[in-house]
């Protein structure tokens, strides 16, 4: 809960984006998470990405489940409607909201307990339906709000703060998302904002189910020796496969071609994802190859990060359902109700 009101003042020299907003206009309430929590860095990355994209904050709907990660939508985009739903069920609420108004940007924020345990079913089905959304899992391998129990993404053999070793196999949400047909799959690290911000921007511009797994250490319960989700462990084992430059639609591409292997992917809205490959053997446009790559590196204990897979020609749920372009929530009886004369004909057919 927020006891301290956040001052509205900002430094006069703070830069404005294309629609005249400063970064402060994308902030929310003061975070109530622990000092040093990775989740706050992710909130900052979301704020930064939305500011850079010059999104009108009120055109974003932010939804979450229950847990530390799910509290964060209160801490960014204060002019957006937010919905803190029930534990593990954000995906279905987001799906319904998305059906009601296809014109907003849908940002789903969840945690590893919320998505990989109680909400696994909803995560799976929202991804396979291709709901147009950015689905971020703030993954710390632990239940923070109930004080340190393992989650389903905790690695086998990792040790809890109380000294108990996890014996269950971990669920890899990135591998799962690719298998389920997510058309944008990435992994970031809360400690690497430079990598994360362009990934979030690209995901927002993507049409379809965009999934980002962000390793986000829990400073209170999972940042000790023996944890595989600690800052130290992730820094040591971070295997970035690429660096992403997000180039907005219609922006003039002036940058010189970077040295090394570069892949450019144009998305449906005209935005260009320029990927500087750090490992030549990874192809982010080949789903099966990307799955193999991620699996092979994970088996070696590496935390593969970057944009892992993207299908720029993907369709979303509205496309699958062939819905009208007008948001449902603006349709009224004149377009929805068949009327009394039709009803008379229906009555006649039932005699």
């Amino acid at each position: 809960m927020t006891w301290i009101a956040k001052p509205k003042l900002h430094h006069p020299a703070l830069g404005c984006n294309a629609i005249g907003f400063t970064r402060r206009d994308y902030e929310g309430k003061i975070s109530t998470l622990c000092a040093g929590c990775g989740h706050d860095s992710i909130s900052a990355a979301i704020i930064h990405a939305c500011w850079e994209l010059a999104i009108e904050p009120h055109r974003v709907a932010k939804l979450s489940g229950i847990g530390c990660s799910s509290k964060t939508p209160d801490y960014f985009l204060g002019q957006s409607h937010g919905f803190n739903t029930v534990h593990g069920r954000m995906p279905s609420v987001l799906t319904g909201a998305n059906l009601a108004n296809r014109d907003l940007i849908y940002l789903g924020v969840s945690g590893d307990g919320d998505s990989a345990s109680i909400g696994m079913g909803q995560f799976v089905h929202a991804i396979r339906r291709g709901v147009n959304m950015v689905y971020i899992v703030e993954n710390n391998g632990v239940y923070g709000l109930t004080k340190g129990q393992f989650s389903a993404t905790a690695d086998q053999g990792s040790v809890s703060k109380k000294g108990v070793a996890n014996t269950d196999s971990p669920i890899d949400l990135v591998g799962l998302a690719m298998q389920l047909g997510a058309s944008f799959v990435a992994r970031g690290f809360s400690g690497d904002k430079q990598q994360l911000v362009p990934i979030i921007k690209a995901a927002i511009a993507h049409r379809g189910a965009a999934f980002i797994d962000v390793i986000s250490p829990c400073v209170a319960f999972n940042n000790h020796a023996g944890s595989t989700k600690s800052y130290e462990y992730v820094r040591e084992h971070n295997d970035a496969v690429n660096r992403l430059d997000f180039i907005e639609p219609r922006a003039e591409i002036v940058a010189e071609i970077a040295p090394g292997d570069v892949v450019e992917v144009e998305q449906h809205d005209g935005s260009v994802l320029r990927l500087r490959k750090l490992d030549a053997s990874h192809d982010p446009t080949d789903r099966v190859a990307a799955m193999n790559y991620v699996n092979a590196h994970q088996a070696k204990g590496e935390v593969v990060t970057g944009l892992l897979y993207v299908d720029s020609a993907a369709h979303d749920l509205h496309g699958h359902l062939n819905t009208v372009a007008t948001p449902f929530n603006t349709l009224d009886a004149t377009t929805l109700c068949p009327g009394a004369a039709t009803l008379d004909r229906i009555n006649a057919s039932l005699r």
Partner: protein, 625 residues
């Protein structure tokens, strides 16, 4: 035993094996009588199975227009050897047994007081068709043909119905007509001495057959439709754009009917794009989640389910109640608890729905009694959910939902607009109007809301299931919590005057006895009241049509010394709610309970009430089923 003689007043029951194609033939039989102007009410009694288990179709023919189950069977068409003994036992003394006489049965399989009518259906079919599937299917149409002769059903009407059914499929039409006439000819040319006819145990002289259908004028402009289709159409008319559902008997056909109607009436003629979205979710939790999300974002959304689905949805129902989100849930009730009786009817989800979810909750329930009300209440529920910003349940059941029922035609006023409730617009926000999401501005307990994306810097708020102050700010302060909970109660009080009001039927003379009932009990109740009146027992009746209960319900109870509460569940759930909500002395409310999974009958109600007031000794049927 004298044969039962009746014109336009009898019960025919077909005992079949499911998956044998009997359903359409049986429906043809019922519709033909209906087209002769004689009210019928058919009921499917079917197993939770696709093929091979017993299924029954019971048709009540009632010139007087009674549409409830009567109880008892006058004519049994026994096509299922598995259930033969029980089926034969069920026939009223003096009744009739139509059966396939291809294979002779021992005399012990028949009853002396029942007139057996054998038709060698299998033999005739095997002679006429070679394809095994056709041999099976046409047996059904053949018995309809045979019955049309016995009962004097107008064959031209049956042919017309077949013509409508097989429009454009001439080959099928011809084959069906052939089967129909094969069945008819068996009796039309009844000549027991004819050598081409097989010997049967049950040769029957039509002169001794006492049941007849006569052309009448008892149907009027009424329509014949099932409640699930009606509710689905109500959702189309009521402006639902999002339907999220998970398959469950007996509600699946509702979502499927919604799909069918939407494809006909909700496709943009210019673009071919859909003004609807239907998602078959992964479970009922996701179904209700999607409805909550769509409702939060300003689209009209509903889900259709049954008891087990309600159980799964309860956490979300609590969220929608507390976060005040419009949700419409159509609960087509079946027998519970657990998997219970998936294909049998009950009214046993009342308490589960009225107080669904943890914590203090109360929900609006509507109780339609027939497809006409299923249509009207489903459309109304979408308005009420928006107006009250809360979950609204339409409590139908398998008996109404999955059986075709003769009912008043659907009506719609073209001047009607959708009541979107208290939604603050961008212009209102811009003008500086104070917006407190959970603030009681008008004194009716209903706050204002905004749709996401309305205004750049006004009207955004954070929706949550945790407590908050009137401006939607997170708060664990006791007074904030209490303010909110009291306001929700006030809102529930406001709902009282908005929901369908109870319907009173006064007895022919002043009485101290009353009866309260709801939903699918209505037709049996109406008939029982007339039967009781004939026996000198007078009761005022009140049909409750919604929860919260109107004040008129309490007044009705207060005005009578004893009130029977007739319902189709074990635990007297409506009675419990009446006691709970009004603080009434339970002794004044006498439960009459029927819950064996079959629809309640007028006979049952009549005997139960007579037994309790001592008109007669309680009979066997008076026992709780």
């Amino acid at each position: 035993m004298n044969p039962i003689c009746a014109v336009n007043d009898f019960v025919v029951k077909f005992a079949n094996v499911n998956g044998s194609g009997s359903a359409s033939a049986n429906e043809l039989f019922a519709k033909a009588i209906l087209r002769m102007g004689v009210p019928v009410s058919p009921r499917n009694i079917f197993p939770s199975n696709i093929q091979g288990l017993p299924t029954w179709y019971e048709v009540r023919v009632s010139g007087e227009g009674w549409l409830g189950r009567r109880g008892g069977v006058d004519l049994m068409v026994a096509m299922n050897p598995q259930t033969w003994d029980a089926d034969v036992r069920e026939i009223e003394p003096g009744g009739y047994l139509v059966h396939d006489s291809t294979r002779a049965l021992p005399k012990s399989k028949f009853r002396d007081d029942v007139h057996a009518i054998g038709i060698p259906l299998t033999e005739i079919c095997n002679r006429s068709w070679t394809d095994p599937r056709q041999r099976q299917l046409f047996k059904n149409i053949m018995y309809v043909g045979a019955l049309s002769v016995l009962l004097d059903i107008d064959v031209a009407i049956i042919e017309r119905l077949l013509g409508e059914q097989y429009k454009g499929k001439e080959k099928l039409l011809d084959a069906n007509k052939q089967a129909l006439h094969l069945g008819r000819e068996y009796f039309l040319h009844a000549d027991p001495s004819a050598t081409d006819r097989p010997s049967t145990a049950g040769l029957f002289d039509k002169e001794h057959f006492g049941l007849r259908v006569q052309h009448a004028d008892g149907v009027g402009d009424r329509i014949f439709v099932d409640g699930n289709s009606a509710a689905a159409l109500g959702c189309v008319y009521g402006g639902a754009t999002v339907c999220a559902w998970y398959p469950i008997t007996p509600s699946s056909s509702l979502a499927e009917a919604f799909q069918k109607y939407c494809m006909k009436y909700r496709v943009d003629p210019g673009t071919g794009a859909n003004r609807f979205a239907i998602v078959q979710a992964e479970d009922e939790i996701a179904s209700i989640g999607m409805v909550v999300g769509a409702g939060w974002n300003g689209a009209r959304a509903f889900t259709a389910t049954s008891g087990p689905g309600i159980s799964l949805m309860t956490e979300f129902i609590g969220l929608a109640y507390f976060a005040e989100i419009p949700v419409t849930i159509i609960d087509v009730q079946r027998g519970g608890p657990s998997t219970g009786m998936p294909t049998r009817t009950q009214q046993a989800d009342l308490v589960a729905c009225a107080y669904a979810s943890h914590g203090d909750t109360k929900h609006v329930l509507l109780f339609p009694c027939d497809p006409t009300e299923c249509f009207a209440f489903s459309a109304d529920a979408l308005d009420l959910a928006d107006r009250l910003q809360t979950p609204v349940f339409v409590m139908t059941d398998l008996d109404i939902g999955m059986n075709q029922r003769l009912c008043a035609p659907f009506t719609w006023d073209d001047a009607r607009t959708y009541d979107r409730g208290k939604v603050m617009s961008a212009a209102e926000l811009e003008s500086g109007k104070d917006f407190g999401r959970y603030k009681d501005v008008d004194g009716d307990g209903i706050p204002y809301r905004t749709y996401p994306g309305t205004h750049p810097d006004k009207g955004a708020y954070f929706t949550r299931g945790t407590s908050r102050d009137p401006y939607a700010r997170y708060s664990e302060r006791g007074p904030d919590y209490v303010y909110n909970m009291e306001r929700l109660l006030k809102k529930f009080e406001t709902a009282k005057s908005l929901v369908p009001q109870p319907l009173l039927r006064k007895a022919a003379q002043p009485t101290t006895l009353g009866a309260i009932h709801f939903g699918s009990t209505a037709p049996a109740m109406d008939e029982a009241i007339v039967a009781l009146e004939r026996n000198g027992v007078h009761l005022d009746t009140l049909r409750v049509r919604a929860f919260p209960f109107a004040d008129a319900v309490a007044e009705f109870i207060a005005a009578h010394e004893r009130v029977f509460v007739v319902e189709q569940n074990r635990d007297a759930q409506l009675r419990s709610m009446l006691v709970n909500e009004f603080g009434i002395d339970p002794a004044r409310l006498v439960p009459v309970l029927h819950y064996d999974g079959t629809p309640i009958t007028a006979r049952f109600i009549t005997r139960a009430i007579e037994g309790r007031i001592g008109v007669q000794q309680p009979r066997e049927a008076d026992k709780v089923a």
